[in-house]
């Protein structure tokens, strides 16, 4: 915890203090990160509503750190048209009920000009109404998700099912020669809608879905599923199970010899964090498709990682795609670009109009571009395969698709 700005960190709640280990991370009164300089017209107020505590905390903390990192970069370079950005954090606590109240604080008390955040779809659904409808404020949602979010003044900066499947599935079928797919999934909205889209792409490319099955989120035993994978001669498992039900499934699949016998395991939210959730040997050959991997070595992405590592040395919260961090970075930069385009006007209509056509020339994994009228962004997509050597895992990038269309709305 260092850096010049942190000296000005102010906790509005008397008791709230982030402990060194990161728990008791009660930000009960919210938290403000002020720039160390001022402007006559006042600062631009940016609200971050993310999961600092609760089940999604690892991703939420990464989002908050990335937001700080991006905003500090902008402020260091002179702000947006000379005006600094002031960051306001509210904890959504991985709980939509708590989140709604806290997000209202951002809108009503802090009167922020834009809100970025929310990670799960349940969270987005819960906070979009207080932000966009009742709060009349712009909302940017950073996570990869199931699509179909076409609310005015709500901009999505993470990848959609089309971006994650359109290149990946043809690769699995045509290049790897997989034909028979199984879709074991956690029972909630993201897997259900993603599978619907993926199934279409699989069938359009000549593949076949042997079974699509949903499990309670904390299922601990999968021998029945493994049996179906064997009996159905499945050669590709398109998985959307999430922790905690995830690890026992992957272990039982590995123990059944699925990969050893030539089967492919693929999952489209697997980033660098997720590899550490399993023993290295179980991850060998896993195929993922995201807008960024740390193995992407373009000069700008490398510079970003170095800057982030310097700002947050030895952090547990990595700058990765699966945790919505890349979407968060993009969101902050899109907003900057939009405000620049309006000439400094912060009204919702003005910024939204500019955001609709905003273009980023660089970012993690490359630039991005809003598709006018569609509330989603074109971005580069990468297919990566996990290699495990001597107990260590890494991703090898094997395919890059430039400026893939989100195909939403």
């Amino acid at each position: 915890m260092n850096g010049p700005n942190l000296g000005r960190r102010r906790f509005l709640s008397s008791a709230a203090a982030l402990s060194a280990a990161g728990w008791a991370g009660s930000v009960a009164g919210g938290m403000v990160l002020r720039p160390n300089w001022a402007h006559a017209a006042g600062a631009i107020k940016m609200g971050i509503a993310t999961d600092i505590t609760g089940a999604i905390a690892p991703s939420g903390n990464a989002n908050w750190q990335v937001a700080q990192f991006a905003v500090e970069e902008i402020n260091k370079a002179g702000g947006i048209l000379g005006r600094p950005i002031e960051l306001y954090l509210e904890d959504t606590a991985s709980d939509p009920k708590i989140a709604v109240g806290n997000v209202r604080k951002l809108i009503q008390e802090r009167k922020v000009d834009v809100v970025l955040g929310g990670i799960t779809s349940a969270m987005r659904q819960a906070i979009k109404d207080p932000i966009v409808n009742r709060g009349k404020t712009l909302y940017i949602y950073p996570q990869l998700y199931e699509g179909q979010e076409c609310t005015k003044f709500l901009y999505n900066t993470g990848p959609t099912p089309a971006q994650q499947c359109d290149r990946l599935i043809p690769y699995l079928i045509k290049t790897l020669g997989k034909k028979r797919f199984a879709m074991p999934s956690a029972n909630y909205v993201w897997p259900q809608l993603l599978n619907k889209y993926a199934r279409k792409v699989i069938e359009a490319n000549g593949g076949e879905v042997v079974f699509e099955e949903y499990y309670p989120l904390d299922q601990a035993e999968y021998s029945a599923t493994i049996g179906k994978i064997k009996d159905g001669k499945v050669d590709c498992v398109f998985m959307t199970i999430i922790p905690p039900g995830l690890q026992p499934f992957v272990k039982q699949l590995y123990e059944s010899g699925f990969q050893k016998n030539g089967g492919a395991l693929t999952c489209v939210y697997y980033d660098e964090n997720l590899l550490n959730y399993h023993p290295a040997q179980e991850m060998e050959g896993l195929v993922s498709c995201l807008d960024y991997f740390q193995a992407v070595e373009d000069p700008f992405s490398k510079k970003l990682q170095e800057g982030y590592a310097k700002r947050f040395p030895d952090t547990k919260y990595l700058f990765t795609a699966g945790s919505a961090s890349t979407g968060m970075y993009r969101g902050v930069k899109f907003y900057e670009a939009a405000v620049k385009a309006t000439g400094g006007k912060l009204g919702r209509e003005d910024v939204a109009a500019a955001l609709d056509t905003a273009v980023l020339t660089e970012g993690p994994g490359g630039g991005a571009q809003m598709v006018p009228g569609h509330y989603h962004a074109k971005m580069n997509m990468y297919i990566a395969v996990c290699k495990s050597e001597g107990g260590k895992t890494r991703y090898d990038i094997i395919d890059k698709a430039s400026m893939v269309d989100p195909r939403e709305c």
Partner: protein, 285 residues
């Protein structure tokens, strides 16, 4: 035939996990009348001990051996300081142990940063019998579970400690008047139950990866097992756990997995309704 063997092995492996977790809970509930809501976190502490040993590089096996000792010691301290104040008020005991569990769980969640940690099996790989592959670690869990059940049973039925424990359970007043220190016995019983939880945590963590919620996900099913088997006996909870574990692993073969989960509860509750005294009602320990 091949299928039947694999099927039986998978069900046995998961049932063993359930039995291991329930054993400590059942011992404490049966012998002391305390429903220990911190049991899941004692399992977590066992798992965490293995993780610490693994990350400082003294090996997974050391962790597996240390876990029951460490968690047993924690259990002893908890009993001496907190639990013994609850014996007269079982309902408050539930809330109290729940609070203890919450504190342990959230501290460990903080230490882990909310992440999951993969723990390698101390005994990895598989062995082949008749062309069929069996996971070494799952086999080790099955064997250990059988050994632990046998050990506990012998301890309770064939030793003088077991006799005193049973006496204290049957009639604490009379036991005390015979010169048995029930307070000491209860402390030892709680520590023993905690040690069993620690062992369970150490054995299952390679299967599920370490997270703060590793214990709590089994807790409701564990309580169901104790209810199903019947409180007050040693065999009851073990049989209950075997039934719940077997159903949880077996039902997804015949119905959709999302249905299987609640179905386990429906069936178990129906049995409890028909046999409220549990599976075992005669020849109580």
């Amino acid at each position: 035939m091949e299928f039947a063997i694999k099927f039986a092995f998978d069900i046995m492996a998961f049932t063993s996990v359930m039995v291991l977790i329930v054993l400590g809970l059942g011992v404490i509930a049966s012998m002391m009348g305390i429903f220990n809501f911190a049991h899941g976190e004692l399992v977590l502490l066992g798992a965490y001990t293995v993780y610490v040993c693994d990350s400082v590089g003294i090996g997974g096996w050391t962790g597996v051996i240390l876990a029951p000792l460490v968690v047993g010691a924690v259990g002893l301290v908890l009993e001496k300081t907190i639990i013994r104040r609850f014996y007269a008020t079982p309902i408050i005991a539930m809330l109290g142990t729940y609070a203890i569990g919450l504190i342990i769980r959230e501290i460990i969640r903080g230490l882990l940063g909310g992440h999951y940690k993969a723990i390698p099996e101390p005994l990895s790989g598989a062995f082949v019998v008749g062309g069929l592959e069996f996971s070494m670690w799952r086999s080790f869990i099955i064997a250990t579970t059988l050994a632990v059940i046998l050990g506990c049973w012998l301890l309770l039925t064939r030793t003088s400690i077991g006799l005193r424990v049973r006496g204290a359970l049957e009639n604490p007043m009379l036991a005390r008047s015979c010169g048995i220190s029930t307070g000491r016995l209860y402390a030892l019983t709680f520590a023993f139950g905690a040690a069993l939880a620690g062992l369970a945590g150490a054995l299952i963590v390679p299967l599920y990866a370490l997270s703060a919620d590793i214990g709590i996900r089994f807790l409701v099913q564990a309580f169901l097992s104790v209810m199903l088997g019947g409180v007050g006996t040693f065999e009851g909870p073990v049989l209950g756990a075997a039934a719940v574990g077997g159903m949880a692993a077996g039902l997804p073969w015949v119905v959709s997995p999302v249905l299987a989960d609640p179905l386990v509860f429906v069936i178990a509750l129906a049995i409890v309704r028909l046999r409220p005294q549990g599976f075992i009602s005669v020849g109580r320990l």
